[in-house]
C-alpha cells in the first residue's frame, strides 16, 4: 500500500538529511506504529506519505514514495486526499470550518461527492466516533478529546485507504484514547484500512499495533518488524515489556491479557512482600486551598463545590476525563480568573489579588502548551530576560536550566527546541523565582521517554525540597511513578481523593499496566517490583 524506495529528505538549510535512504513497505490493512525520540524525523516520515513533505514544506526529497501506486512526485497532497487521510498533532489548528458536521463533510465536498453519499457517511462517522450529540456544536467549544475524534472523523468520511495520525491520543484521557484506538482497530480489521501512527505513549498503542517502525534518526536506518520483535530490543518500551524483561517472559507479552497469563509465577514470588506502604500525609499547614470553589462559564459549571488542600512535599495528580475541570482548577490557583463562588488561597493569600511580580514567587503554572510562556529570540535571551524581570541574580535561570536539562542549545529559538527541551526551559523560567506551588498542565504531552524520565526525577527532587506540585494529567504511568496523592474530578466535582496507590488501583481506567498485570496486589511500577525481587534474592 505504501512504499518508500531509497527515500532521503533534507530540509532547506538543514546541515544533515532528516531521512536517509529509507526503504519501507507497509501492506494493506496494517496498523503500523512509528516510534522514536522527538526530532528524529517521525513527523517528516508521516508527512512524506501524502506528499506534504516536500510539496508543502520545501526541502529536497530523493527516491520515490508511492501510495497505492500513486507517486507523491507527481501527485500533490490534494490529489491524494481521496486516498490518504492525515490528522496532525494539533487537531484544532487544522479545522477548516466551524461546526462539527461541516468539518466532517469538508473533504467530501472537495472530492465532489454526491450530497446523498455525504449525508450518509457523515451519519455513519458520527456514530462510529460517538460524536452524535455534538454534531451541531461549534468546533471551538469542544473538549480536546472530542476535537481529536472530529479530526479523525473528518478524514475518515472521504473513505481513504490510508490513515496517517500524528500522536492521536496524546491529548486524550485514557478512556477516550482507548476508544479512538479501538475504533481504528475496527477499521483496520473490517475494511482493511491501513493506519500509520506516531505516538509516544507506547503503553497505549503497542497492544494495538501489528508492526512497529523505529526511527532512530541521525542517518541510521529504520528498524522495522513485528511489535514483539521490535519491543524485544527497543530502548524505549512500555512498562509491560519492561516487566516481562525483568521476569524473563517468553514470548514477550504486549497486552495486559498476555502478560497476566504469564504472570502467575511472578505473583507467587511477590506474595511474600508488600508493595511500598502509603506515605503519611505531611504535617503542616496547607499551601494551597480551595474552599467550596465554584467556577462557572457562561453556560457551564466547570468546577462545582470543590474543597481541596494541598500540602508541601506532596505531588498531587489531578485526573479525570477531558473537560472535567482540571485545567480550570489549576488556573484558579494560579490567579487566572475569579471564582464564581467559594475561595482559593495560596499561602493564605488570594492569588487573584496578588500583583504579577508577587504571584510568581508563590505559584508557577506551566500550561499545556509550554511554548506560550516563552517569547525570547533565543534560549539565552529568554533566561537573561527572566532574571532581569524577576529581579534575580544574573545567571540564575540559566544555571537552573542547565541543572534541569543539560545541553539545551543556547542560541536556538524556543520554537525550534524539541518538546522536552521546551518544557525544560519553561520549567526553568517558572521555577527560578522559587514558587512553592508548582502547577503542571499535561506535562508529558508530546514528551519522549528520556525527557519523561528526567521530568520524573525533577518532580521527586522538588517535592523532596518541600515544593507542592499539582499536575493535571492523563498519563497514568506518570501518576504511578511520582504522584503521592491522586484526585479524580468528574464534571467539576471531586469523585475520589486519596493516596495515589489506592486511587489508581481502584479504577480500571486509571490503573497503570503493572497494576493491571499484578492485580490484586497494588504494585504500580516496574521499579518497585524490581526492588522487591532484589530484596527477595
Amino acid at each position: 500500500m505504501i512504499r518508500f524506495d531509497e527515500v532521503s529528505f533534507t530540509y532547506v538549510d538543514a546541515p544533515a538529511p532528516t531521512l536517509e535512504r529509507v526503504n519501507l513497505s507497509i501492506e494493506e490493512g496494517e496498523l503500523c506504529l512509528v516510534i522514536g525520540e522527538t526530532g528524529r524525523g517521525k513527523t517528516t516520515l508521516l508527512r512524506a506519505i501524502n506528499g506534504l513533505v516536500p510539496h508543502f514544506t520545501g526541502g529536497r526529497l530523493t527516491g520515490r514514495v508511492t501510495v497505492d501506486g500513486r507517486s507523491t512526485a507527481d501527485h500533490a497532497p490534494r490529489d491524494l486526499a481521496d486516498l490518504v487521510g492525515v490528522v496532525g498533532q494539533n487537531p484544532s489548528a487544522s479545522f477548516v470550518t466551524d461546526v462539527v458536521e461541516d468539518e466532517l463533510a469538508y473533504t467530501m465536498e472537495n472530492l465532489g461527492l454526491a450530497p446523498s453519499v455525504m449525508r450518509r457517511r457523515v451519519e455513519d462517522t458520527l456514530d462510529l466516533l460517538g460524536l452524535h450529540e455534538v454534531r451541531n456544536r461549534p468546533l471551538m467549544t469542544l473538549s480536546g478529546g472530542q476535537q481529536q475524534r472530529v479530526a479523525i472523523g473528518a478524514v475518515l468520511t472521504a473513505s481513504p485507504k490510508v490513515l496517517v495520525l500524528d500522536e492521536p491520543t496524546s491529548a486524550l484521557d485514557p478512556a477516550a484514547a482507548e476508544e479512538v484506538l479501538a475504533a481504528l482497530t475496527r477499521l483496520v480489521h473490517d475494511v482493511g484500512l491501513t493506519v500509520v501512527l506516531a505516538e509516544h505513549r507506547l503503553e497505549r498503542v503497542v497492544p494495538f499495533a501489528d508492526r512497529i517502525i523505529q526511527v532512530p534518526g541521525q542517518g541510521r536506518s529504520l528498524v522495522t518488524g513485528s511489535s514483539a520483535e521490535v519491543m524485544a530490543t527497543s530502548t524505549v518500551a512500555p512498562p509491560i515489556v519492561e516487566l516481562a524483561r525483568l521476569a524473563h517472559w517468553h514470548p514477550l507479552p504486549l497486552s495486559v491479557r498476555d502478560a497476566r497469563r504469564q504472570a502467575e509465577p511472578l505473583r507467587d514470588r511477590l506474595a511474600g512482600c508488600r508493595p511500598p506502604g502509603i506515605p503519611p500525609r505531611p504535617e503542616s499547614s496547607p499551601r494551597a486551598v480551595s474552599e467550596r470553589l465554584v467556577v462557572e462559564y457562561p453556560a457551564v459549571r466547570a468546577i462545582s463545590d470543590v474543597s481541596l488542600e494541598v500540602f508541601s512535599g506532596e505531588i498531587v495528580a489531578l485526573m479525570g476525563r477531558n473537560g472535567s475541570g482540571k485545567s480550570t482548577l489549576l488556573a484558579q490557583w494560579a490567579g487566572l480568573g475569579r471564582p464564581t463562588g467559594g475561595r482559593v488561597r495560596v499561602n493564605g493569600q488570594d492569588p487573584h489579588r496578588l500583583a504579577p511580580k508577587e504571584l510568581i514567587k508563590q505559584v508557577g503554572l506551566v500550561p499545556q502548551d509550554a511554548g506560550l510562556l516563552l517569547y525570547g529570540e533565543t534560549v539565552a535571551d529568554e533566561c537573561v530576560t527572566a532574571d532581569r524581570e524577576t529581579g534575580l541574580a544574573p545567571g540564575t535561570t540559566g544555571r537552573l536550566l542547565a541543572r534541569i536539562l543539560a545541553g539545551v542549545p543556547a542560541d536556538h529559538h524556543p520554537r525550534d527546541l524539541s518538546e522536552g527541551q521546551r518544557l525544560a526551559l519553561a520549567l526553568a523560567v517558572i521555577m527560578a523565582p522559587g514558587p512553592g506551588l508548582l502547577l503542571l498542565d499535561e506535562p508529558t504531552r508530546g514528551l519522549d521517554y528520556p525527557s519523561k524520565e528526567r521530568l520524573v526525577e525533577l518532580l521527586v527532587e522538588w517535592a523532596g525540597d518541600g515544593h507542592s506540585i499539582v499536575m493535571a494529567t492523563h498519563d497514568v504511568e506518570l501518576v504511578a511513578r511520582v504522584a503521592t496523592r491522586a484526585v479524580v474530578l468528574a464534571e467539576g466535582e471531586v469523585v475520589a481523593d486519596g493516596p495515589a496507590r489506592e486511587v489508581v488501583c481502584d479504577s480500571p481506567v486509571f490503573s497503570p499496566q503493572v497494576a493491571k498485570v499484578l492485580a490484586p496486589e497494588p504494585w504500580l511500577t516496574v521499579d518497585e517490583v524490581a526492588e522487591a525481587l532484589g530484596v527477595l534474592a
Binding site: V86, E133, S159, L365
Partner: protein, 448 residues
C-alpha cells in the same frame, strides 16, 4: 425566547445570506441619515434582534466587540474635531490654546474655540459610522463568515476561502491574545499598558502565522483546490474570453471618463466586457468539482428577512427623495431632533426577522450542571452513543466488565437533550464504515 420554535428539523437556521442582507439593509439605512434618534433606533433594533436570535457559538459574541469599536470611533471622531477640527461658528463651549502653524499648513488648525455645534456634528458623524459597524457586527454574530462562504457560487469559492480565512483571523486573534495574556501573567509580566501591548504583539503574530501554515497544510491534504482537468482548447477559450472582457471594460471606462471618445459614451463596451468576464468566470467554474453538503435552505423566513431589509432601505430612500424631512439633522440651530414617521416604521421593519427566524439550539442555562456548550465532558457524549442500539462502540464493554463498577465508568444518562435518534444500521458500501457489528475482541483486554 419562549415563543418561537416554528422551524422543523434539527438544523434549521436562517440562511446566512438573509442575515447579511438584513444587516446590509440596516447599514444602508444608517448611512442615509444623521438623525440621532433614527441612528439609535437602528442600533437598538439590530442589537435586540441579535440578542434574540443568536446561538451560543463563540462568534455570536462578536457584537460586543463591534459595539466597543463603535464607541471608540465616536470618541476618536469627537477628539479629532476638538483638537484639529474646522472652527465652526456657534456657541463656544471652551477654548483650547491654539498653535500657530506655518503657511504651508493652511487649512489645518490646532486648538482654538470649540463650539457645541461642531462637537455635536462630529459626534453624529461618528455615531453614524458606529451604527454601521454595529450592523456588520450583528451579521457576524448571527451568521459566521464560514457559513456565508458556503453560499458562494463555486467560481468564487477559492477567492472566498481567502477572504474567510482572513475574517476568521479576528476571532483566532482574540483567543490567542487571551492565551498570551494569561501566559504573561504567569511570567509576572505586565499585561496592561504600553509594555503589555508590546509584549503581546510578537507572540500573538507568531502563533497566528503558525496557525495559518497549519491550516494551509490541512486544507491541502484534505483536497482543497482539487480541480477537473480541462482540455487545452477549453482553457484557451476561458482565458481569451476573460481577457477580452477585461479589455472591453477598460476601454468602456475610458469612454465614460472621456465623453465623446467612444460611441454612446462607452457604456455598451462596459456592458459587453462585463458579460465577457462573467462568461469567463462561468467557464472556469466548470473546473470545479466541488459539491455541497446540506446547503442552506432559502424559505419563508429568509424572504421575510430580506424584505425587511428592502423595506428599511426603501423607507430611508423615499424619505430623502420626497423630502419628508428629519433624515438629516443639522446642528444649526441646536435643537432636539424630530422622529420622522416613514423611516421610523422602516427601521422597525428590521425587527421582523426576530419574529420569524428559527432559534438555534441553545443549551439550558445554569444551574444545571453537566454538559454545556463549553468544554463539554466527553463521557456525556460517549454514553449517549453507547445508548444508540445499533452502534456498539468498543468501550461500551468497559462498563460491563467483571471489575467493580467505578463511579467514573458507570454509564450515565445523557445530561442534556433527548436520547439521540436511532440511526438505521447499515454499512455504507462506499465507505465501508460499518455501523453494526462488534469490534474484534482480540485487543480490547488492554483496558482492564
Amino acid at each position: 425566547m419562549t415563543v418561537r420554535r416554528r422551524a422543523s428539523g434539527p438544523r434549521r437556521i436562517l440562511h446566512p445570506l438573509a442575515w447579511w442582507l438584513w444587516a446590509l439593509g440596516l447599514a444602508v439605512a444608517a448611512f442615509r441619515t444623521t438623525n440621532p434618534l433614527l441612528l439609535v433606533l437602528i442600533a437598538t433594533v439590530t442589537c435586540l434582534v441579535v440578542v434574540l436570535c443568536r446561538s451560543d457559538a463563540p462568534w455570536s459574541r462578536s457584537l460586543g466587540l463591534f459595539l466597543r469599536l463603535g464607541v471608540l470611533v465616536i470618541v476618536i471622531r469627537v477628539v479629532i474635531q476638538i483638537v484639529f477640527g474646522n472652527r465652526l461658528p456657534g456657541h463656544v463651549w471652551f477654548t483650547l490654546p491654539s498653535v500657530e502653524l506655518p503657511s504651508w499648513a493652511q487649512g489645518v488648525s490646532i486648538g482654538g474655540p470649540v463650539t457645541a455645534e461642531a462637537v455635536v456634528s462630529s459626534f453624529l458623524l461618528g455615531l453614524r459610522l458606529a451604527v454601521i459597524l454595529v450592523c456588520f457586527g450583528a451579521a457576524n454574530s448571527l451568521a459566521s463568515p464560514y457559513r456565508l462562504l458556503r453560499c458562494l457560487p463555486s467560481v468564487l469559492y477559492e477567492t472566498g476561502v481567502a477572504v474567510t480565512v482572513a475574517l476568521a483571523f479576528a476571532p483566532e486573534l482574540v483567543i490567542s491574545i487571551q492565551a498570551v495574556r494569561e501566559a504573561r501573567r504567569l511570567r509576572g509580566r505586565p499585561v496592561r499598558g504600553l509594555a503589555g501591548v508590546r509584549g503581546l504583539a510578537v507572540p500573538v503574530l507568531e502563533s497566528a502565522l503558525d496557525r495559518s501554515l497549519q491550516l494551509a497544510s490541512a486544507m491541502d491534504s484534505r483536497g482543497y483546490g482539487r480541480n477537473r482537468k480541462l482540455s487545452a482548447a477549453q482553457r484557451r477559450l476561458t482565458t481569451m474570453v476573460t481577457a477580452a472582457g477585461l479589455l472591453l471594460v477598460v476601454a468602456g471606462v475610458y469612454g465614460v471618463l472621456a465623453p465623446g471618445s467612444l460611441p454612446l459614451s462607452g457604456l455598451p463596451f462596459v456592458a459587453l466586457g462585463a458579460a465577457g468576464i462573467v462568461v469567463g468566470l462561468v467557464l472556469s467554474g466548470r473546473r470545479s468539482i466541488r459539491t455541497r453538503y446540506r446547503p442552506d435552505v432559502w424559505g419563508g423566513p429568509e424572504w421575510i428577512t430580506a424584505v425587511s431589509a428592502v423595506i428599511a432601505v426603501v423607507a430611508y430612500t423615499l424619505g430623502s427623495r420626497f423630502g419628508t424631512g428629519g433624515l438629516t439633522y443639522s446642528a444649526y440651530p441646536l435643537a432636539w431632533p424630530t422622529l420622522p414617521l416613514v423611516p421610523m416604521l422602516g427601521t422597525l421593519a428590521g425587527f421582523l426577522p426576530a419574529l420569524v427566524a428559527p432559534v438555534p439550539d441553545r443549551p439550558r442555562r445554569l444551574p444545571r450542571t453537566g454538559s454545556g456548550p463549553r468544554r463539554e465532558d466527553d463521557r456525556g457524549s460517549r454514553t449517549g452513543t453507547a445508548s444508540v442500539p445499533t452502534a456498539s462502540l468498543p468501550t461500551a464493554s468497559l462498563s460491563t466488565g467483571s471489575t467493580p463498577v467505578d463511579p467514573l465508568l458507570a454509564p450515565r444518562p445523557p445530561v442534556v437533550g433527548p436520547a439521540p435518534d436511532a440511526i438505521p444500521a447499515a454499512a455504507d458500501p462506499a465507505t465501508g464504515i460499518p455501523v453494526t457489528g462488534n469490534v474484534p475482541s482480540v485487543r480490547s483486554e488492554a483496558v482492564r
